[in-house]
Symmetry: C2
């Protein structure tokens, strides 16, 4: 039995939570039940179910794809890609975006109540993988009565989920769009995440993850984690263009430890505002899932095996200044797809803004996605 | 009046501390007195004083250039460059290496006793600049009775000091060797340092810097700062070669938050071992000095002005995988030196190890330095 509760204005952006009985068998061996998935939909599902597009979000993203975020009051994170006249258009497409397993915006995660104890799971929540996230999404897609998705689309960790969708449920994905992503986490990717985890776990307010009953979450540690990660989302040239060595509200250096430079102030703001919308334990679990991600390893060590015999059409996009998931990672995906005989188009776009480019205004990206999705329409 | 106390075996590596009366006028406007400088010398000063080479250390370096570190028991940090038969050879050269102002290995810094209070300075220590560090070194060179240095040599922050030496005391530097360095700190450089500072200051044990009387320094925060910085010292390719996604002492992933990957374990070790040898407040002060560094700004906004009319010979070396101070930064130095009509040789060396290459075995680097220093001998 699954219950569906509408929580939002149904005219545009219908926010719901599906409580799926499960159990979901996880890659780590544990079983999760129930599986709660908070999601939004936009548009109307066609009678034949053939117009569904699933959008997968990134590490700190959420289901508020194109509607106002309830905590921050900011517009959805991908209104440039999803909306009237946009490449993904609710007038034509039935768009689904689900908060990933392990996150903190309504889907099952460490802040959820463990039914066996009546208290939040905290660190008793099972460690999950990106494939587990995708399996949970597939349960949601089942629940919505959709067999095959017209497209699965995502950037960064969202792109990794797209790859997992195509590898795990090849018959359910007509088209796959993988933006600014990678087929596995590199040693440097793991290293940056480990810094963030250590920053959180070093915060005495973390209390081994059991901070939910206290009004004192590990905000300082989570802010430092976010600051370190945020640097990796931007390019050196982008930071120089945006901030350079410009001073903050001062004519001269303070010869103190306040935020003298604009870039310091910006980073501090990024850290502080993040803790208002994100759960520290969720940050631990999702970064862990990303670090565990290695699609080739899941398929006998050969990436091409993940796509053997696939009928899915692929579109792979990278950005030239992205040093978190550089173009070489996208090329590795494309080489594997070529080796598997898959239909794939690949483009490296030019942008000064590094990894974050996929979230920013990019007419070139919109044109690529629009053309690719339109060409896949039947 | 200056006192000199030998502290070590004088046969090789003579460790001393000079207590110079000062006052030293700092760039921030404060006066520092006395100025204590812990340093080591190797070899014998020639009668004409013409064989002195000053080596400048990096952010977390120290004066233990080629002798055993008293706390870690490890060999000196640049035995590959300094020693018998090495490019800098105590049999020929009189080698000086001084702990920088603001550090914690015996030179005046936040852990030093403030003579006006009898307690450690902590955050009452004045904020310093790289030029202040160099001025303090010049006081030491005066104290040693040396007018002109045969060479000033350094990598990373050491290279920045070499640039300050050449710009501030052009008549006292015959040859300058600038390795893996930059003429100013970029927005990204500042951003990484700010993460480290915030990690330290977020640690409750930091106590606003007043932790010296407690047996509980901000070790967790300092370890996180070191971990974040350490990633920037290595290349992505070097991390992949050294660790890749190899697991730590386990056949399979733990599905937990222990250090599953070797790179996690390595980083944690880097963080933990660092706190045994470094003072958190010194880390704040030295990173601040580096972030303030902008040689062009100190010279009317034009880098070439810093070297106008210089007679110093320059050797500039970068490494192709160094993304902390990439080759483009060395090129900016070389262009300015060219514009100033200076004598300069420049080489980009190939190494897989990123910024840290200057500290690692590099026959090519040794050959470059050896040739450059020999060509400068009179």
């Amino acid at each position: 039995m699954a219950a569906t509760a509408p929580l939002d204005d149904p005219r545009f952006g219908l926010a719901r939570t599906a409580r799926l009985p499960g159990p979901l068998r996880l890659d780590g061996g544990a079983f999760l039940a129930p599986v709660e998935i908070a999601y939004e939909t936009y548009g109307t599902l066609a009678a034949d179910g053939g117009n569904a597009i699933l959008v997968c979000h990134a590490l700190t993203g959420d289901q508020h794809l194109a509607s106002t975020h309830p905590r921050t009051g900011k517009p959805g994170w991908w209104t440039r890609m999803v909306g009237p006249g946009r490449p993904i258009d609710p007038a034509r497409d039935f768009v689904i975006c689900a908060n990933v397993l392990g996150s903190c915006m309504g889907s099952s995660g460490p802040a959820s109540i463990d039914p066996t104890t009546g208290a939040p799971y905290a660190m008793r929540f099972p460690v999950i993988t990106l494939r587990d996230m995708v399996r949970a999404q597939a349960m949601l897609v089942d629940h919505l009565g959709i067999g095959r998705l017209r497209a699965v689309v995502g950037g960064s960790m969202g792109g990794m989920q797209v790859l997992e969708w195509a590898a795990t449920f090849p018959d359910r994905v007509a088209s796959a769009v993988v933006i600014a992503s990678a087929p596995r986490h590199s040693a440097q990717n793991i290293a940056f995440h480990e810094v963030g985890r250590q920053a959180i776990m070093a915060d005495p307010s973390w209390r081994g993850g059991n901070y939910y009953e206290h009004d004192d979450p590990p905000a300082a540690g989570l802010a430092v984690a976010r600051m370190a990660a945020h640097i990796t989302y931007l390019s050196e040239a982008g930071l120089t263009e945006k901030f350079g060595r410009r001073l903050q509200k001062r004519e001269a250096k303070s010869f103190g430890f306040d935020a003298d430079f604009q870039v310091e102030s910006y980073l501090r703001h990024q850290g502080i505002s993040f803790v208002d919308r994100f759960d520290a334990n969720s940050y631990l679990y999702i970064t862990r899932a990303m670090d565990y991600f290695d699609l080739a390893e899941e398929h006998g060590g050969l990436l091409a095996n993940a796509f053997k015999g696939t009928k899915t059409r692929f579109c792979v996009v990278s950005f030239d200044t992205d040093w978190l998931y550089p173009t070489s990672e996208s090329r590795a995906i494309v080489h594997a797809l070529n080796a598997a005989g898959a239909q794939v188009s690949f483009v490296e776009l030019s942008s000064p803004f590094g990894h974050d480019s996929f979230l920013l205004e990019s007419p070139a990206l919109e044109a690529v996605i629009d053309g690719f999705l339109k060409a896949g329409q039947t």
